[in-house]
Symmetry: C2
Subunit: 228 residues, 2 copies
């Protein structure tokens, strides 16, 4: 997979930056996408410096990133998700895989980050699936990794549950998750289950506020094959 | 706390039986509540035999159990929760603590156990809070422990997140959780957060079906004080 560049759309935020850092260190070629080309390039440069030798992170405007990659990771605040996907519809290549990490936090309408908004389609990921061009497969993952921890050096102590209706997209997302040190990837079934993954983020944010931590989740009690 | 009996309402099901077994082994005095007195007594007898020496488990009709205890744990299927609480309203003592473990699984209306129903109040626990007599405090906990594992012997590998608006009820529920070997109790804040705990059960059931396991969750990344 390491020859296939990963475009992280909305990649200058903390979650996108952290994922880019970890994947760059794992040898992946990364494109940071942003509304603003210069901002994308500056972000990419910082990640290259942090990731160390041989890191291959570049920056592009979001549409250009979609033209340059068919493996897309979406890390934008919920309030920008639909507009961005509508804007990118002509740019996303047929056959692309989009991995959505969006969480409909109530902060999008001035509420608390420990609460979520109801999304008509069931989840932000299902909204994404409705908005991408035909032939683009959507998986949901990476909601529950602390951006602070991703942007640091130590291995994480978290599992990533991946949901998606397309077996290939689901598998690609799990392979990406497993490239983050300390992370185990678990197939969480259909895309509709993303609604629960997204809720868990709000729970973890609430725990972080209450207990001053960087909460993550581990799933226990599954056979070893489930974590591969 | 060990002098305060715990009444497990709807306690003859797998979750209630498993909690009773673990708490009986921890030295707690348990009352199994059921619609049917004889069924409650038979269930209690089985738990006593399994729990070993000194186990103190008795069985009563649910109303009698409420009259005999002011620490109540509710482990019924969602489709029976509201009716039972309405029926028990005259029996529940003022000042009681009710710990709700109900999950609104779609099985209640013939659907899948990996999906939930929307509850008008936000969660089954919030519905419980609306239905108990005034002066009764509700906490939500124990949704995400595998009944199969609770009914076994080994220590569990799971955390119990407790939600509740009453600090005392929340603390009592956490103390009960911590009496289950292997379980760490975490304060999850307000009762409204129970909606996420309940969703997690559906996610775990889906994972169990998909991967043939007995899934549980651990929360990582919080400071040690959070787990006390």
């Amino acid at each position: 997979m390491s020859s296939r560049p990963i475009a992280i759309l909305g990649g200058t935020g903390p979650a996108g930056t952290g994922l880019a850092l970890r994947w760059a260190r794992a040898g992946e070629s990364i494109i940071i996408g942003s509304r603003d080309t210069q901002r994308a390039q500056e972000g990419a440069q910082k990640i290259n410096e942090k990731a160390g030798n041989h890191a291959r992170v570049s920056g592009m405007e979001n549409s250009a990133a979609c033209a340059a990659a068919d493996l897309l990771v979406l890390t934008v605040p919920f309030e920008g998700q639909a507009a961005l996907l509508k804007q990118l519809k002509p740019a996303i290549q047929p056959g692309s895989i989009l991995i959505d990490a969006t969480v409909a936090l109530a902060t999008g309408v001035g509420g608390r980050a420990s609460r979520t908004l109801g999304v008509w389609q069931g989840s932000a990921a299902q909204q994404a699936a409705e908005l991408v061009p035909k032939g683009v497969s959507v998986a949901a993952a990476f909601h529950n990794l602390s951006a602070d921890l991703l942007n640091g050096d130590p291995a994480l102590d978290c599992d990533v549950i991946v949901c998606g209706d397309d077996a290939d997209a689901n598998q690609v997302a799990r392979a990406l998750a497993a490239k983050i040190p300390g992370v185990r990837a678990i197939d969480g079934g259909k895309l509709e289950n993303a609604r629960i993954l997204e809720q868990i983020t709000a729970l973890l944010i609430g725990l972080n506020i209450r207990h001053k931590g960087h909460g993550g989740i581990r799933i226990t009690g599954l056979p070893p094959e489930a974590y591969k």
